[in-house]
């Protein structure tokens, strides 16, 4: 997979002198650059455009959990929105008010806010990721954001950074002082789903090769089977990917594997039908979930998870496998326990960080 360079970069004047803008100028020599006072929301998407704005909101957000389903307690470092990978199931397609790729150019403020947050509770372990509203590494060849974030986190005693991607753009991670505080994570799917639903993302082979590259440079790894999608032959499809995963990297380097069955806001259905007419993913057995999202009927989810967990445990019984946004009964039915029995999902993941990465906040050492 090759990085797709934006052809036109529009930068707000407030961030035009920042490090991020400088990196873009250096790495995008063929692009045109335009400085404007304020970028207004575009009405239609222009895939050639990259917008660089000064973000004025809260840069560190909590993962949007709901009271009915267990949330991982992850924090999102909001560095940009949108993604050009165009996966059929992606909720970002429904973000119609900001259709263009957009990143936040006020990196100093981002890191400043992060420092304030981390200092506020030194006994808390912060698991922070950047891959919620965009792909963590999609624009990294141009922004070099990882070159700022990874060294920053190496010095953050009570935090780990998770870079979540579907690309193989890991070259910038080479030679960085990560201090064992960065997890490089890949979203994985079966080869059939990868080809049909995420055709512009890196192939599974490329993702696993990139994971090997990172593991070889001392990075910890994580994998997210999310969204798991129901189709005839899903078991063999997902098993093949799990087999390839465990043949590619040492399971001991994997901090966690998350599992999440495909779920979507109802409005996404029309978007998928309109933009991906050949996709069949929205025609599964979906029912309205307690959070308003459409979810596979629970027995289907439980079957997915039981199967995946059994396969993961076969490869490494100690590897932390967890479910993203599921209730107690599904946990019980598929993993045999509920998060509460182990102190809650957040604590489970904190323990995985302690065990695999040897990082524990001050009070818990």
């Amino acid at each position: 997979m090759k990085p797709k360079a934006p052809e036109r970069v529009i930068i707000e004047s407030a961030v035009s002198d920042g490090a991020l803008a400088a990196n873009l100028r250096k790495n995008l020599p063929s692009a045109s650059f335009e400085i404007v006072d304020k970028i207004s929301d575009a009405k239609t998407r222009d895939p050639k455009v990259l917008e660089v704005v000064r973000f004025r909101g809260k840069l560190l957000k909590s993962c949007p959990g709901t009271r009915n389903y267990h949330c991982c307690g992850y924090k999102i470092l909001h560095f940009g929105v949108q993604c050009s990978l165009g996966c059929s199931y992606c909720i970002l397609q429904a973000y119609l008010n900001q259709p263009n790729l957009r990143i936040f150019g006020n990196l100093d403020e981002i890191l400043g806010e992060l420092s304030e947050n981390l200092a506020r509770d030194r006994q808390c372990l912060y698991r922070i990721g950047t891959g919620e509203f965009s792909d963590s590494l999609l624009l990294d060849p141009f922004t070099e954001l990882s070159r700022s974030l990874v060294p920053y986190f190496s010095k953050a005693a009570n935090a780990v950074l998770e870079l979540k991607t579907k690309t193989n753009f890991v070259q910038n991670l080479e030679g960085l002082d990560h201090g064992g505080h960065t997890i490089v994570a890949w979203s994985l799917n079966s080869e059939e789903i990868r080809k049909k639903e995420e055709p512009f993302a890196a192939s599974i082979a490329e993702r696993l090769e990139a994971a090997r590259f990172c593991s070889g440079r001392g990075y910890f790894l994580a994998f997210h089977f999310d969204p798991i999608i129901d189709y005839p032959g899903w078991k063999s499809g997902y098993k093949r990917v799990l087999d390839r995963l465990f043949a590619s990297v040492d399971p001991a380097r994997i901090v966690w594997i998350s599992l999440g069955a495909f779920r979507f806001m109802p409005e996404l259905k029309e978007v998928v039908k309109a933009h991906h007419p050949s996709s069949r993913i929205v025609y599964g057995e979906f029912i309205p979930g307690l959070d308003g999202k459409m979810r596979y009927f629970r027995d289907i989810r439980a079957e997915f998870y039981s199967f995946m967990v059994d396969e993961i445990r076969r490869a490494d019984p100690d590897l932390c496998a967890y479910l993203c946004m599921e209730d107690d009964r599904i946990w019980q039915d598929s993993l045999g326990f509920s998060p509460e029995e182990r102190g809650g999902l957040s604590r489970m993941l904190d323990r995985a960080v302690g065990k695999r990465m040897n990082i524990r906040p001050a009070s818990r050492t």
């Binding site: 309109a274 069949r280 027995d299 289907i300």
Partner: protein
């Protein structure tokens, strides 16, 4: 434009450039014409040396068939543009009663030909109660392109407007099939939409033609059943489509029914799972007519709760484990 007596021989009745096909029965119009003659002058437009019909095709054909030499018509000059004439023609139609779905579809299609999307006359769309959104307008236009058979069924009101728009992009065979089914069932608009959505999604999910989905034997059996009336047929078809669309959920619901039955609870106790078994809010509904009856019902409810059998029903995994153990 002027009003004058026109000899029928001057009018080219075969030129249908300005026709909005009205496919319903013209019986009432014929009655009126027979009793009162032409009350509202037809509209004509000059074309070369002759005249073509803009509005009043049926009236003029009636006049010809009745042997009338001519009639008073409103005549527009050839200089009057097609767009202007159509706009007037549509405006006139809006103030007449009973525009059916087929006519609406034709009018929207004509408007889309005459106007750029930003110029579309909002008052006309509002009068037609048509949403001014490109996808909706496109669907209306697709409906207008259906064959006469389909348009006739649309005119007859066999299908509700919302449902008609859902089938706008369907092929002719599938459209005919669903209209035949809906004509037979005579169900509400929301049920029509539900059934159309199920059929559509089954076809898309399984990579089949929609007509193939509707031609499976169980559907045919429901439709030709002599034991079921149209309401029962509607319910049976809804159940069948739901089962085909959600096979595992339906199977769980059936299993749940059998399992609850096996508990041997008295009829005054109902166990209600969460909708689609999602979440943990299960309900037990007790009904009674006297406190003594309630005491008996409570004993039964308590023994069901204590037996552990309810746990097995609530958690299928636990049930499977228990099955294996036994």
């Amino acid at each position: 434009m002027d009003l004058r007596f026109i000899s029928l021989s001057e009018i080219d009745l075969d030129d249908r450039s300005f026709e909005i096909r009205k496919l319903g029965s013209p019986l009432r119009l014929r009655e009126s014409l027979a009793n009162f003659g032409i009350l509202d002058p037809p509209w004509l437009r000059e074309k070369g040396k002759g005249l073509i019909v803009v509005d009043g095709f049926k009236r003029l054909v009636w006049a010809k068939d009745s042997g009338a030499p001519g009639t008073v018509c409103r005549v527009f000059s050839e200089k009057c543009s097609g767009r202007d004439l159509w706009t007037r023609r549509i405006e006139k139609r809006l103030f007449e009663p009973g525009i059916d779905i087929a006519e609406k579809a034709q009018i929207v299609s004509i408007l889309l030909e005459l106007f750029e999307s930003e110029e579309l006359p909002a008052p006309v769309l509002a009068s037609l109660n048509v949403t001014n959104r490109p996808d909706f307008l496109r669907r209306w236009a697709s409906l207008s392109e259906k064959g006469d058979g389909v348009l006739e069924l649309l005119s007859l009101g066999t299908i509700a407007e919302r449902a008609a728009l859902e089938v706008a992009d369907w092929d002719e065979r599938s459209t005919n099939k669903i209209l035949t089914i809906l004509g037979l069932l005579k169900c509400s608009a929301s049920i029509q939409v539900e059934m159309i959505e199920r059929i559509n999604e089954l076809a898309l999910r399984d990579g089949k033609d929609r007509s193939d989905v509707m031609e499976v034997p169980p559907i045919g059996e429901i439709l030709v059943s002599k034991e079921l009336n149209h309401r029962q047929k509607t319910q049976a078809l809804r159940n069948l489509l739901s089962e085909l669309r959600f096979p595992r959920l339906t199977s769980r619901q059936k299993r749940f029914g059998l399992e609850v039955q096996s508990l041997g609870l008295p009829p005054q106790i109902r166990i209600i799972p969460p909708p689609a078994f999602e979440g943990k809010n299960w309900k037990m509904e007790l009904s009674f007519t006297a406190t003594e009856e309630l005491r008996g019902v409570l004993v039964s409810a308590d023994s069901a709760a204590m037996s552990g059998l309810l746990d097995a029903i609530m958690s299928p995994r636990l049930r499977e484990t228990k099955d294996k153990q036994s």
